[in-house]
Amino acid sequence: MALELSQVEQGNHCIVMAKGEIDLYSSPQLRDAILKACKAGKDKVGVNLSEVAYMDSSGVATLVEGLQASGGADSFLLVAPSQSVLKVLQLSRLDSVFTIVEQV
């Protein structure tokens, strides 16, 4: 299952919608999408992970990079992460580093 990415602007948010599997192959695509969203000129960047069936540590590293690029946890949101994404964040003990919201 490939990764499908799209960008949605919503008020002062720029949201990356991700669908599929995030691994060593697809995380560079996610990285590009997040960096593009950071440049959209909105206050906050979000990554909607509700339809991500699988994510590995290269995905986690990409999200950490996004957090840094966007200016920190106040301006970078993980939106509705799926159960498997949440699990990887917990296993990597990074769940408390991110701002996780159910919707924007």
Partner: protein, 142 residues
């Protein structure tokens, strides 16, 4: 491997194929009665090990070979991963203490080995003398 081998997968060292490798691991574990939650964790841990072979042993060269054997027997499910790249430095792959893990928690990276050690009941990582790595990952089965 100790358990009798059922399947061996040899795949080219490209991230593009990791998804297919995960599919067969997922299927094998499910058919061996492993619960969905545990299947997810094991798939993740083995994927990290494959990713390490590609990134570290082969420095991203995509024309090398990674091998994964799946077997079961005697109350164990075994997965053995082999590459023929640069052997891992021993101090990077040994099991970390809880303190070391907590200290490293906020930096990305270094997660793979931690996952592998936490998900499996028994892990033996054998870097070759001059070449290659073998990781035997064992799970107690129901």
């Amino acid at each position: 491997m100790v358990a009798s081998k059922d399947i061996e997968i040899q795949f080219r060292s490209t991230p593009k194929l990791l998804c297919d490798v995960r599919a067969v691991i997922r299927s094998y574990l499910t058919n061996h009665g492993v619960e969905t939650d545990k299947v997810q964790e094991v798939v993740l841990a083995v994927d990290e090990a494959c990713t390490n072979s590609i990134r570290h042993a082969y420095s991203g060269q995509d024309d090398k070979l990674v091998e994964l054997s799946l077997g079961s027997g005697d109350g164990w499910i075994e997965l053995e991963l082999r590459d023929s790249g640069v052997p891992a430095p021993y101090d990077r792959i040994k099991r970390k203490t809880d303190e070391a893990i907590a200290a490293a928690a906020l930096t990305p990276g270094g997660l793979g080995m931690h996952l592998i050690y936490s998900v499996f009941d028994d892990v033996t990582f054998t870097p070759g003398e001059t070449q290659g790595n073998t990781i035997l990952m064992r799970l107690r089965s129901a």
